[in-house]
Symmetry: C2
Subunit: 249 residues, 2 copies
């Protein structure tokens, strides 16, 4: 353990920020840290859109299901998978890059590139004493988000990242047992053991909620997540991504 | 700037490692750091497979196009998008989660979750004085990788992460200009400016290669990447992912 791993392990999402904007220097440090992350074969297949316009932030908060901290924070970033740049490059170099950039492989590459950059941004922000919250909620309405941020074809806004000075700190939710996430040499084959690990984790989560709510809530993890997944949200995504000319072949 | 942002901005991929395995404590610190990353709605849709078996590592190196550092390192991790766990959970809770876990939305969630965790692992490793290299090359043959690591349906090995004690340090390649990656309030609409930024970056990259190779190599970035994308690699990916019952609807 050291200062950095301490910082990583102490992460929690922040959903209440002071009304104090980030400085230009902070924004640049965060973006440069994001850019320093690894990128698949040097393709740099992502873009970051900083949103400062109040109306746009209010609209994004609405898309995200009225999460106030999408509008109220120090700075709001949107991380995008971006192969538009590569389309332009193909034109500049007179090379047919279209089959590649329309492939599932390059869709995955662009999503991974954007996420690696975002996590560096998150870590950089936390090292500056700021709090962060990923906002997957913008995916409730990516048509709306694309229109608002004027993203071209082959650009998919993936998630927001709200950053700011924390005004309230949340607890840290216990993660899955290490031995359940981490396999050695092969994926765990014994389903009975797999289920036991989930049951063990259910006890931990249930106790966590019990303590935190004074007995009002005792959800298990599998109950909570299976209940959420049963609801089938954002089922328009395949059409949207393909309309944006990605993940097509 | 602080110690953490310095560490992030000084990242470079390491492709030569000493013959010295990571300790159990180092592995656990890295995995726990990975797990501390944000996860979409608490779904924790990823798994990590550590590979220590020499034959398996040799095979993975072969899949990755004979990259020696896939076999020779301190520890080799494979990060997987994982919705198998959620399939099991649906069975445990008697909820129909299948349409959700077969959606493009949840495929994206699982890829993002895995990448956020991986980047925390990478940062943790570098903070311990270790070097890292992402290995997208395992995606050359995911059928082979799945068979080798016995991953079930709804698990997609995304990339490897080779970690170890660096024996040779590479240079750091300059990234795209900040103003090209970072947009404000809307995606840059002026294509002429967009292309100028790419041309400006081409000069930077060309000078970088020129200096580094004593004039032998003067590639531009757009030339290098468009040339790579023209080649259409890993076009089997869509079939593979769908065969694994992800990104289906």
């Amino acid at each position: 353990m050291n200062e950095v791993t301490n910082l990583l392990m102490n992460h929690r999402s922040i959903r209440h920020f002071e009304d104090k904007p980030l400085s230009r220097e902070q924004i640049e440090t965060i973006v440069l840290s994001a850019q320093a992350a690894s990128t698949s074969s040097f393709v740099q297949a992502y873009s970051i859109i900083g949103v400062t316009d109040k109306e746009k932030k209010a609209k994004l908060a609405e898309f995200a299901g009225n999460q106030s901290y999408v509008a109220e924070n120090g700075h709001f970033f949107v991380f995008c998978a971006d192969l538009h740049r590569h389309d332009i490059m193909g034109q500049m170099e007179n090379k047919d890059v279209i089959p590649a950039i329309e492939s599932t492989e390059k869709f995955m590459v662009s999503v991974i590139d954007a996420a690696l950059a975002a996590q560096n941004a998150a870590v950089a922000a936390e090292s500056l004493g700021l709090g962060i919250c990923y906002i997957g909620g913008i995916r409730n309405d990516l048509e709306g988000v694309s229109e608002l941020l004027k993203t071209p074809d082959r650009v998919i806004p993936l998630f927001g990242l709200a950053i700011g000075y924390p005004s309230k700190k949340n607890d840290q939710k216990p993660r899955l047992p290490l031995q359940h996430i981490y396999h050695e040499n092969e994926y765990k084959q014994d389903e009975a053991v797999y289920r036991e690990e989930l049951e063990m984790y259910n006890k931990i989560i249930s106790e966590y909620y019990d303590e935190r709510t004074g007995g009002k809530r005792k959800d298990t993890w599998t109950g909570q997540i299976a209940g959420m997944l049963e609801k089938q949200t954002r089922m328009y995504m395949k059409d949207y991504v393909q309309k944006k000319k990605m993940d097509l072949r």
